[in-house]
């Protein structure tokens, strides 16, 4: 696996070279029971950026996202080929422990999915199973910080013992973000994190993503092109399983190179 390889050829030659590449993918193919869902995708994910994956339904963007923390392993019949690395370490290699990988590459799902436990337990679960807290005080500290970073602290600080499922949809999603960042990941993957939320809750999530940028490398899958334009610095356009175009968000939305990208962002199809 080439760690220091320059940003891959065709797909991203116009993108500003990223000094700090966090994850690299080369020639990634994904098959579901023999049917190919992702075709030959190569991409670099920057450390400092929010990277948005856009594209019509079924274009393979979520599938590809799930390769980045090996969540596809849990699906029967899924097969991944190609190389994906985090800090130069092959994540599909024999050395890589998948449980640790998922702690380093956290994930937020489309539908808010808090555990049916207390708000405190939701956030404390990850640090606890990874032994990140040395004491109860330490754990309290992690929970508080994570909830503060997720912008949920002021709303829940007086009811940490309440069930996480009793919160509103938007609060639940921010709780899930707090849960993901409580294990101090390096990358946070978000699979359409706001698609099940109302516009106000969506706006809060977008603000939150902006706040978290820089601390974690963030990859977000979205159907909503305005959202991609608002929150991301890099955008990748997927179509029919291939990565059509990848570059700076401003370039993709104002000056796309490919006609397919142009057609999609102008609403011709999708």
């Amino acid at each position: 696996m080439a760690l220091s390889a320059p940003v891959s050829a065709a797909s991203s030659q116009h993108a500003t070279p990223d000094a700090t590449v966090k994850m690299t993918a080369r020639n990634v193919n994904v098959f579901y029971s023999g049917k190919q869902a992702v075709k030959d995708v190569s991409i670099d994910i920057g450390q400092e950026n929010v990277t948005a994956f856009i594209g019509p339904s079924g274009c393979g963007k979520s599938t590809f996202l799930r390769c980045l923390n090996r969540m596809n392993d849990t699906i029967d019949g899924a097969k991944v080929t190609g190389d994906i690395a985090i800090d130069g370490e092959d994540i599909y290699g024999a050395q890589m422990d998948v449980v640790q990988l998922r702690a380093r590459v956290g994930m937020v799902f489309q539908k808010p999915n808090p555990f049916p436990k207390s708000i405190y337990e939701n956030v404390a679960y990850g640090p606890r199973i990874h032994g990140l807290a040395r004491s109860k005080v330490d754990l309290d500290e992690i929970v508080t910080t994570s909830l503060q970073r997720a912008g949920l602290w002021d709303e829940v600080k007086d009811r940490l013992a309440d069930s996480g499922t009793a919160l509103s949809g938007g609060q639940q999603q921010r709780l899930c973000i707090a849960r993901a960042i409580a294990v101090d990941p390096e990358v946070v993957l978000m699979d359409e994190p706001a698609s099940a939320l109302d516009p106000i809750a969506t706006a809060r999530i977008e603000e939150l993503i902006d706040d978290l940028r820089g601390r974690y490398a963030i990859v977000i899958v979205t159907h909503n092109m305005q959202q991609a334009a608002r929150v991301s610095q890099k955008t990748a356009f997927f179509h029919l399983g291939t990565l059509v175009e990848y570059g700076d968000t401003s370039d993709i939305f104002t000056n796309p190179r490919e006609t397919r990208t142009k057609d999609y962002i102008t609403g011709r199809y999708g």
Binding site: M71, A103, G106, M107, F115, Y125, I129, T165, R179, A180
Partner: protein, 427 residues
């Protein structure tokens, strides 16, 4: 086709006769369906009420027993022991039958045959070993009457019938004793604390109840962990292929196999191959575990499957290992369903008779079993044995045993409901 050229339909007349008839029809079929449902419910309720009333009316007297008051002179000469002895071993082996005969002759009279139970001497022995100071003294003791006297006291015997099991002489004696006030009918502690007997007045249900408890204990111990582990493995770990499909079909078929087949399996495997002891709760429990296992696996799989996949994703997403996902998240959420399925399986095992007949648990057992390897019988088999007995006194015992079995079943169902409500979580 453009709208201009489409043929025009007449506007719908919602008040036409055909429409009105349709509405009437609809209401009628609605009414009929509700009536049919109510009738079905009423019929089921009627059957249940009939069952409960019939068992209750016959069985409740089974919890009562009639005693006769005897004045017993604990004469060392009659007992055949040295005067003034306090040694338990000597007192245990004294001649109580002779003492009883003497006491009956003295208290009731010469015509006393068939009034006092043959097992009454046990009462005399218990009284003396408990209080050795009675030796050489007189004491009034209540001892069990025969089943005939008991039935007369409860009014179950039809005195006018041409053919009756109770002789005229016993009826005469009964009337005399009743008038003298030396008969009493009270709670039958023997029934609740002893095992089977050939005499109805001495037969107890506790032996069978304890046999049932021991058997179910073994069943639960084997089938719950094995069943839950199998369900977890099949749902969470096994990849779906032809092999696991075959396993799934086999488990479903196993749940439908008649229970007597499991009895034959238990007979062949545990008794003939492993040479375990016949009639033992251990073997009964193992046999019933084979029968209960598929029920627990199936209900466990359904419960595990109903845990939303998003919870697994969430746990995996923060880096939980598969085992942590199962034990921290999936199992706690599936527990109410698993427990309900388990208790339903156990309730079925509690009521099972046929497989236990095959492994010898229909033996006559006069002792309360004290361990897993002792000969024992279980409640449903005891009911079967008593219902087969020709003696009139066992009819009420049969119904009383059914009441005990039903109380056990209701307790288990109550526990199932309690556990389901306790562990159920909503999200």
């Amino acid at each position: 086709m453009s709208s201009a050229t489409a043929p025009l339909r007449a506007p719908t007349d919602w008040n036409s006769a055909a429409m009105q008839a349709r509405i009437r029809n609809r209401y009628r079929s609605e009414r009929l369906f509700r009536l049919a449902g109510l009738a079905a419910l009423a019929l089921a309720g009627l059957f249940l009420a009939f069952l409960l009333v019939s068992i209750g009316s016959k069985g409740l007297t089974g919890f009562q027993r009639t005693d006769v008051k005897l004045t017993v002179a604990f004469d060392p000469a009659v007992l055949g022991v040295p005067a003034g002895t306090r040694q338990p071993a000597v007192l245990q082996s004294a001649n109580y039958q002779q003492l009883l005969d003497a006491a009956v002759a003295a208290s009731i009279g010469p015509d006393a045959d068939g009034i006092v139970s043959e097992g009454a001497w046990l009462k005399l022995r218990d009284a003396l070993t408990e209080n050795p100071a009675l030796l050489g003294m007189r004491a009034d003791l209540w001892v069990p009457a025969t089943s005939d006297v008991d039935l007369l006291a409860k009014g179950i015997v039809d005195r006018e019938a041409e053919m009756r099991s109770v002789s005229d002489r016993v009826i005469r004696e009964y009337d005399r004793l009743q008038a003298a006030g030396v008969l009493r009918t009270g709670l039958n502690t023997t029934f609740l604390s002893m095992a089977d007997s050939t005499d109805p007045e001495l037969a107890g249900i506790w032996g069978a109840a304890k046999g049932s408890l021991l058997t179910l204990f073994v069943t639960l111990l084997i089938s719950f962990p094995v069943g839950v582990l199998a369900a977890i493995y099949l749902e969470e770990y096994a990849t779906r292929n032809r092999f696991t499909d075959i396993i799934e079909v086999s488990i479903n078929n196993l749940a439908a196999v008649p229970s007597i087949i499991f009895g034959l399996l238990g007979l062949a495997v545990f008794l003939n191959f492993f040479g375990m002891s016949r009639s033992a709760p251990l073997v009964g429990g193992l046999t019933l575990a084979l029968m209960t296992l598929p029920v627990i696996v199936i209900s466990g799989r359904i419960a595990i499957k109903s845990v939303p996949p998003s919870i697994r994703d969430a746990a995996l997403g923060v880096g939980a290992s598969p085992v942590q996902v199962v034990f921290h998240h999936v199992l706690p959420l599936a527990l109410p369903g698993i427990l309900t399925g388990t208790i339903i399986g156990m309730a079925r095992a509690l009521g099972e008779t046929a497989p236990l007949l095959m492994i010898g648990m229909r033996a006559f057992v006069a002792d309360v079993p004290s361990g897993l390897a002792n000969p024992a019988t279980v409640l449903p088999v005891q009911i079967f044995l008593w219902s087969d007995d020709v003696q009139r006194g066992f009819v009420e015992k049969t119904s009383a045993a059914i009441i005990v079995l039903l109380v056990f079943l209701m307790l288990m169902n109550g526990i199932a409901i309690y556990l389901r409500n306790k562990f159920e979580r909503r999200w």
